[in-house]
């Protein structure tokens, strides 16, 4: 089982219980809150939501988050998949979810979620991480805070160098 680490209101990180069951397309949907594929959401989403459950959708790198544009207010979680840690498409997906589509729910990194990329993930708007077993919230926080400055505006509200310089 991967460990779920969540970002708190501040810049703190802690282990969290996972209320959601990740369901593959060839599995039956169990009771409770679930994370399902985009395809399944498109066929079964309305029904599941009407049952009063919390729903998360898993987006593969090749899928476009724009497909969820109108459903986002109804979703609790968007899970962005890293099939390999070096597949960087999820960084764009997260950025768009937050900045362009205004998604306020949980953006969760799933798959090959690599500690060393934690800083990039947080900057792009991820706030939940299915980290590899053994990774602790302290490690996660350490990596996220490793750099005292950033050069770009991103989803997080950190002031980039060019803003710091004006202060």
């Amino acid at each position: 089982m991967p460990t779920l680490i969540k970002k708190g209101q501040g810049d703190d990180f802690a282990f969290a219980d996972d209320a959601f069951t990740a369901v593959a397309d060839d599995q039956d949907i169990p009771q409770g809150d679930v994370i399902i594929s985009l395809a399944r959401f498109q066929t079964d989403g309305d029904r599941l939501l009407s049952e009063g459950r919390q729903i998360g959708v898993r987006i593969e790198p090749a899928e476009e988050v724009e497909a969820l544009a109108y459903d986002l207010p109804r979703l609790a979680v968007v899970a962005l998949a890293f099939p390999k840690h070096r597949d960087g498409r999820a960084f764009s997906s997260a950025t768009l979810l937050r900045k362009r589509l205004g998604f306020a729910g949980e953006v969760r990194a799933v798959g090959d979620v690599f500690l060393e990329q934690a800083g990039h993930m947080v900057r792009c708007g991820f706030d939940a991480f299915e980290a590899a077993p053994g990774v602790t919230p302290d490690q996660w926080a350490h990596v996220v805070h490793r750099h005292r400055h950033v050069y770009q505006r991103a989803v997080d509200a950190r002031p980039p160098a060019f803003v710091e310089r004006e202060e």
Binding site: D87, F91, T95, E116, G119, C124, H147, Y151, A161
Partner: protein, 551 residues
Amino acid sequence: MYQYDAIDKDVLADRAAEFREQVDRRLKGEITEDQFKQLRLMNGLYLQLHAYMLRIAIPYGSLNSTQMRKLAEIGRTYDKGYGHFTTRTNLQFHWIKLKDAPEILDHLASVDMHAIQTSGNCIRNVTADPYAGATADELDDPRVWSEAIRQWSSLHPEFSFLPRKFKIAITASAKDRTAAKAHDIGLMIRRARDGQLGFEVIVGGGMGRTPFIGPTVREFLPANRLFSYLEAILRVYNRHGRRDNIYKARIKILVSALGREEFARQVEEEWAKIGPAGDLPDTEIARIRGAFAPKAFDVLVNRSEKYEAALATDPAFARFARNNLKPHKRAGYTIVEVSLKGIGDTPGDATSEQMEVVADLAERYGQDDIRVTHEQNLVLPHVRLDDAHTVYLALAKAGLGTPNINLITDIIACPGLDYCALANARAIPIAQDIAKRFADQDRAELIGELKIKISGCINACGHHHVGHVGILGVDKKGEEFYQLTLGGSGAEDASIGKILGPALPADKVTDAIDTLVEVYLRERHDGERFLDTFRRTGDAPFKEAVYADAH
């Protein structure tokens, strides 16, 4: 020159600390080699045939004497007393120990240098005109924009895990000394009719096994909109570039698959959504611009009696002046090209002593400014004509006085099979052999501008596709063979060279070059360079002569 402020310095220190931790975790086995590979690559550390290679960034090819001396010191302490300047205007040390790497990064950080993003699938070191700030024909100083891009692209949260590496070049001159059209993005500074500054944006050029001269996707981008436009290009690429095949992952493949119009449409659509929120404030550009304010040039007359006298009495200097001195925008100044192509030497290599000589000269006579060119030479961009002879004598004494800029012996060669794990064939000995054949300076000058570029494999780090004569190492049943391409150019008249015919064994390459030169000298019209003649005659006479034996 841009001075790092406290923030820039903190970033380098944090990065060095981060890498030290990562190396430590790797040595403890907490991360796998596969995971570590990405991390070390993004810090410029490659595993090569014999050892680790560390590639140090020289942002837009610009450095000062303190930095050059530090590179010399690192070469002496951690390598074998020399370094290799690359076609990306970086410096490579080929004999590094993994455990020393974090310490070297600390050394670099102490002089505001680093190895960030000199490798990996991220935005790499920006190439800029090595004559920036010195040449008369530039519309703006490209270093201003290069430095802004350096900062914007450093540890970019969204664009650090692209499908493949990403290279940007900027030039502000009609004469392109950056090979802009062979980059992922080429930015050519333009001025609109109303005087507004902007960029022509070229996307999707590149070398490798499928070379492309990049098409223009936007004729004129207002300068203050650069960063939102870069974001749009990178986002389209990050989302849609191919990731299933490493050889099809560069942006050139995406641009050519979509077609220029469709790619441009997607970028424009994305750009419209980003809006000016993605741009840098003018105040930041102004701050950076301030750092590149023109130097305190002396007011001089155009003619230097000292220089004229030296020309008249020292024929070796006259030759050097003819080939290696370039016009400066200020009266009484000159741009000095320092050739790293000594006859029989490894192209781009400099010993620690040579680096120190260049550093001393830059400090004493050159406003503390040194440039690296993508053709693997060095430049002292601001030397008074009065001092040119003194500078030449010091260079010559250090083995740096070779008067061959742009001549047939000014050869680009990648490290090839002597160092590189990917190579099919050696590149350096071929370059050395050709240089020796054309060591006669009179003959080399008679031949004039002729750019030979050699790659040890199809990855084309030696830019053979855009050589007037390109030489590509191929493997034929375990033997080193070389394929010739003719008619390429990486300059403003960019084109991809055409394969001449079957590959040749190593011992026939130099003869073939000699034959090509003979044909050119026979066929050329007045004032034609090799490239011009080739473009006029086509390959027939060249092909016939080179493969005559085979018939």
